[in-house]
Subunit: 364 residues, 2 copies
Amino acid sequence: MRRPKAVAEAAFNLAVDAMGGDGAPGIVVDGLAITAERHPRARILLVGDEAALGRLLRGNRRASAICTVRHAASAVSMQTKPTAALRMRDSSMRLAMDAVAQGEAQGVVSAGNSGALLALAKIVVRTLPGIDRPALAALSPSSRGDVVMLDLGANIICDWRNLVEFAVMGEVFARTVLGLPAPTIGLLNVGAEELKGDERLRLAAEVLRSSPIAKQFHGFVEGHDITAGTTDVVVTDGFTGNVALKTGEGAMRLVGDLLKQVFAETIVSRLGYVLARPGLERMREWLDPRRYNGAVLLGLSGVVVKSHGGADAEGFAHAIDVAMDMVTHGFNDRIRAGLEWVGPAGKPQPGQGASGAANVAAAG
Amino acid sequence: MRRPKAVAEAAFNLAVDAMGGDGAPGIVVDGLAITAERHPRARILLVGDEAALGRLLRGNRRASAICTVRHAASAVSMQTKPTAALRMRDSSMRLAMDAVAQGEAQGVVSAGNSGALLALAKIVVRTLPGIDRPALAALSPSSRGDVVMLDLGANIICDWRNLVEFAVMGEVFARTVLGLPAPTIGLLNVGAEELKGDERLRLAAEVLRSSPIAKQFHGFVEGHDITAGTTDVVVTDGFTGNVALKTGEGAMRLVGDLLKQVFAETIVSRLGYVLARPGLERMREWLDPRRYNGAVLLGLSGVVVKSHGGADAEGFAHAIDVAMDMVTHGFNDRIRAGLEWVGPAGKPQPGQGASGAANVAAAG
């Protein structure tokens, strides 16, 4: 199995797929100009059409100061199926992944096709030992600070084992990016009571209750607990997580749009807006979806970050921030340590714990 | 099979479970006082502890004007398991259901235990011919007006057939309560493309595309489409629907709480609130969860409405409004007509349609 070389040896911090996303490659280069300000010593391998990138970088000194271009003859489009993307050996996404697999770069950032990114990451960057399936995680706002949500769509169908792995990876992610010493974990369900939900959820809860992170496991949480910040990590399957994430974003957008209408209505309400503006602006910035851009594919032998396809330069720069943060904090070494108890030598089994899963199965 | 008698014969519009919900029976009686103002000719069968209800009604003239009390010796608690609730023959929830089954009342409203309510409704009120499983539906706010969402938690695990039934029932519900001549329908998924999601979703979409409501079927929608109002009806399984509903409510509450903080921050921002107040109040009222209280159990031979267990008198009165609305508009006759093509004589099958489900199955 190929393994990325040690951090110090990598020539680049990140390999960036220049051709992914709605506004590529222009938005990507503009985003890297912001990165250059925030991380002036970053070394970026920019992978994509050499001619187009050359033109863009000539007009963008800041971005060109941190970028080295590598030519890619093709690009994965939003319509490309994952199986087809796997056969494209010269796509910008593939070559960026190759750079991580070969230890040239510590991580990769792409705003391209999610399905292709996931398939390529699994094949090229590879999953960590003990991990069955990588999961897509991101931060989400709550009244008690940011929370980690996963899976956000990498795995549409999950079993209890996947959910347990997601909990372990989410816990390490929360320690790394939120700096919490012992983040709490909740399993998303339709009620907090032990008998709620399906067999899969009850088994995952059972295993987590007798795991090394049992003290941090809060049990089941419900949809409203995400924004209430009941737990630092919210674990769910990729279907539910994707729907929940987009539903929450949509609800916030609805309230935001209504607020705009209210404030624009009359001269008096406009004046009201002006008076409350500093606080409203701060709130808008805090809830800004761009601040939450950059979903991380956890469970791989390298840092893989997915930017939203519709992100602007600011949003893309945030996705790069997330990747730089993970690379700097040695996230993958931490996750390896956190995963020891779910490693191939000792896959968790319900019933191994003190409380006995036989009862749970009978109740299901 | 018992069938409720015709509308004109029923002695009561609604049977109300007086003992369900956090503040029962006080909140229930206070809610009925509001109902008495809105529907002065309503005839309510109030089922619960006779002594307690007698005391409450003596102190509440408005409520007592529309209520007839029926004694129930027991009450289903929030901890009662559905199987145990089915064995309780003298509970207020059971006796209220019995009144519907025997044609005494046209519908039932309860703020009690959801699992018990669903189990009792299926056994006592019975499902309509052609319906495999009833679904919980409610209205939800969107930027284009209210939308119908279902299932909100009655069926944690669903197959494609259930999803098709939900679409049909949701369509009739939207015509009845929103007054739309041809409501559009979306199937909740993780992406709008045909290949997204699981087999179950692709088969349901395939069947709907060749159904009598094909023209109203929009295809797949995503989480953010709920509040965007992309379709009038959003169909999903009970697990996803429950999580999405609560996530959306939680997100709106987060923004609402942040707004309160912003406006309370300084004397200037407080003045800003005062100036924008009329519009802000209107917005708050429009998004008020109490205005969306009253989830309807669709697919039964009678109207069954579930109020939120934590609803106050205003919220409970809204749940009664929903039930009165459905009873008045002959919802069940409409749903019987809408269900003819999914009736037992001709259960829809993928592949019966023009487009051929074989390809879909192969792609899945």
